[in-house]
Symmetry: C2
C-alpha cells in the first residue's frame, strides 16, 4: 500500500474512487481504508457478475465520477475481477478522455488476464465486449494470492481455463504441470504459474497493444469461446468466460488438426485435460448453426471471414487463420 500511495502522489491525485463489486466489497471492506487518510476517497459498488457490463452501469459510474468532481489527475482503482476491470476500465478511459486507473485483481482470471493489457469494455446487444477501448492501466498491483482463498470454485475454474490457454499457446512445460492437477483448489495453483502467464501476456501486449496482429495469439479458444459465451447468455444459461474458452479450445484444437497440423495424440491430451474440469458439449452442426450469428460478430473478423488462432503443437500457436466454417 505504501508503493500505491507514493504513486498516487506522483500523479498529484487528490480524489480516489475504489470501484468494486458486491462480492468483493463484502469480503474486503477495509482493504483500501488506509488511502482515506491521504486522499479524498469514495467507494462505488456494482452488482457482481458479467451482467453489470452494460450501458446502465457505465452511465452510473460516469455520473458518480462527475458528482465526485474527479479530474484527470485523479484515480479509479479497479478492485475486483474481469467485470470490474472491463467496465471500470472503460468508464475511466472515456471520462474526461481518460483518468488514471490502478488495477487490483481479486480473481484468478483477472490476475492472469483481464487486469493486464488494457482491453476494456461492456457487452452490447448480446455481443461480448462489443463496445470498448484499448487503454493500459497506469499501475497494476501485484497479484495477492490471499484473494484466491475466498474465490468461488466456478471463478477459480474460469481463471484456470485461461491458464490452460497460456500453456497451449506458449509453454509445453506449463501444460505438463497443469496435467498433473486432479482437483482444482486455491492451493493447487502455484504462484510461479501466475507469474509465467503474466510475463507472457505482458510481452505480447507490448509487441502489439492495439491487437492488430501478434496479440491475436491470445485469442486461441476465444473465437468459439466468445460466441459460446454470448449464445449461452442469450439463452439464459450463462457460463463463465474461462469455461467458454475451455470449450472453445477443444473446438479450435479440432480445427487445428484439420488446418494447422496438430497431431491426434496432442489433440487427445488437450481434450483429456479440458474434459477433466469442464463439460464440453459434443461438436454438432446444430450447435455451430446456433453460434453462427455470434461468430460473425467477432471483432477479429475481417471482411466477413472468421479469424482463428490455431495450434501447430502444444506450446506453438499460429495466428490469423481465416477459415470459412459455414
Amino acid at each position: 500500500m505504501d508503493e500505491l500511495i507514493e504513486i498516487l502522489n506522483q500523479w498529484a491525485t487528490r480524489r480516489v474512487m475504489v470501484l468494486t463489486d458486491t462480492n468483493v466489497a463484502g469480503l474486503y471492506p477495509q482493504y483500501f481504508e488506509r488511502l482515506s487518510s491521504v486522499f479524498e476517497c469514495q467507494t462505488m459498488v456494482v452488482p457482481a457478475g458479467e451482467e453489470s457490463k452494460n450501458t446502465e452501469q457505465l452511465i452510473r459510474i460516469w455520473n458518480r465520477m462527475l458528482d465526485f468532481e474527479m479530474d484527470r489527475s485523479d484515480t479509479l482503482i479497479l478492485f475486483g475481477g474481469g467485470t470490474v476491470c472491463d467496465l471500470g476500465g472503460f468508464a475511466a478511459a472515456t471520462f474526461k478522455r481518460g483518468i488514471h486507473t490502478v488495477s487490483c485483481p481479486t480473481t484468478l482470471l483477472a490476475m492472469i488476464d483481464a487486469a493486464h493489457g488494457g482491453k476494456t469494455g461492456i457487452n452490447f446487444g448480446h455481443i461480448k465486449n462489443c463496445i470498448g477501448t484499448v487503454r493500459q492501466p497506469d499501475y497494476m498491483m501485484p497479484a495477492n494470492l490471499e484473494f484466491l482463498k475466498t474465490l468461488p470454485a466456478a471463478e477459480l475454474k474460469s481463471g484456470f481455463g485461461e491458464m490452460i490457454k497460456y500453456a497451449l499457446i506458449a509453454s509445453p512445460e506449463l501444460f505438463n504441470q497443469l496435467c498433473s492437477i486432479r482437483v482444482l483448489t486455491a492451493e493447487t495453483i502455484l504462484p510461479e504459474w501466475i507469474e509465467r502467464c503474466v510475463a507472457y501476456k505482458r510481452k505480447v501486449v507490448a509487441l502489439d497493444p492495439e491487437d492488430r496482429n501478434e496479440r491475436h495469439v491470445l485469442n486461441f479458444g476465444h473465437t468459439f469461446g466468445h460466441a459460446l459465451e454470448s449464445y449461452y447468455w442469450s439463452q439464459g444459461q450463462p457460463v463463465t468466460h474461462g469455461e467458454a474458452v475451455a470449450i472453445g479450445m477443444v473446438y479450435e484444437s479440432r480445427l487445428s488438426m484439420q488446418h494447422a497440423g496438430l497431431s491426434q495424440v496432442q489433440f487427445n491430451r488437450i481434450n483429456k485435460l479440458i474434459c477433466r474440469f469442464y463439460d464440453v458439449p459434443e461438436w454438432s452442426e446444430d450447435l455451430i448453426k446456433s453460434l453462427r450469428p455470434y461468430l460473425l460478430q467477432d471483432k477479429k473478423n475481417s471482411s466477413g471471414e472468421l479469424n482463428f488462432t490455431l495450434l501447430c503443437d502444444i506450446g506453438n500457436a499460429m495466428i490469423n487463420n481465416f477459415i470459412q466454417i459455414f
Copy 2:
C-alpha cells in the same frame, strides 16, 4: 471520390455507413451515392445540433452499426459539422474497440478544427465533451468550400471564432487579415486561411496527440469558452461553440494582460475585432460566480487549479498557466 474509394478498398472495407445530420442530409442527399455501387452502404441521420451529443444518440449509433454487422475493416464516414464528428467519432472509436473513420467536414468549424486531431466525445451532465476518447480519423477528405455557401450565418460565425483563435496563438499576419473583414460571408473566407489553420493544428496534434502538454495551446479561449457554453446551455440559451470561444478569448486576453504581459494596445485590438462580430457580456463577479461549477469541471484542470493558455502577444501563446481565479 476516386481517392476515397481507393482508400476504402485498401482497408478491405465492405460496409460503409455515412453518418450525417438533418441539415446536411437535406442539402446533399446524393453526395456519397457513388459509393453504393462499390460497397454495401447505409446512411444514418442524427438531429442537427449540439444536443445530439448525448448517450441516447450514441447508443442509437452503436445499435445501428451492430444491426449492419459492421466489423473492424468497415468504415464510418462523418459527414457534417462538429456534432457529427464528435459523436460519430466516439461511436466509431469504441465500436468493436475501433472501426475506420473518414471525416468529411461541412462546416467552417469542422474544416479547421473538429474534423482534425481526433478528439471525440459527447456531452454529459451539462459538461461539454465530458465523455470521449482521442482517436485520429483514418482519413480526412479535403475541405470543400462549396459547403460553406449553404452554411447558416451563425455556423459561419462559430467557425470564424476558432479562426481568430489560430491567428491569436500563432499568426499575427492572419490576425491582421481577419481585422480587414467587415461583413462575414462564405466569400470573405479565403481558402488559404483555412489551409493555414489546418496546417497549424496538424503540427500541434502531431507533437502531442493525447493533449498532455503542447496541444494545450489550442485551448486559448476554451477554459472560459467551454464553461460559457455549458452555462448558457444549462440556462436554455445555447450559444455556438465558436461564439463561446470568442467571448472566452476576450476574458482570457484580459487575464493575459495581468499574468502574461499582453499589452493594453494589443488587448484593445483583440477586443475590437471580437466585439465587431460577437456580443461579449461585460466581465462581472456575478457571471464568474455562475461559471464556477463549469470551470471546475474543465478537463485540463489538475488538482483543482484552473489551467489557462494565455497570450504574451498576438501570435505568441504560453501554455499551462495555473491560476486561482476564485
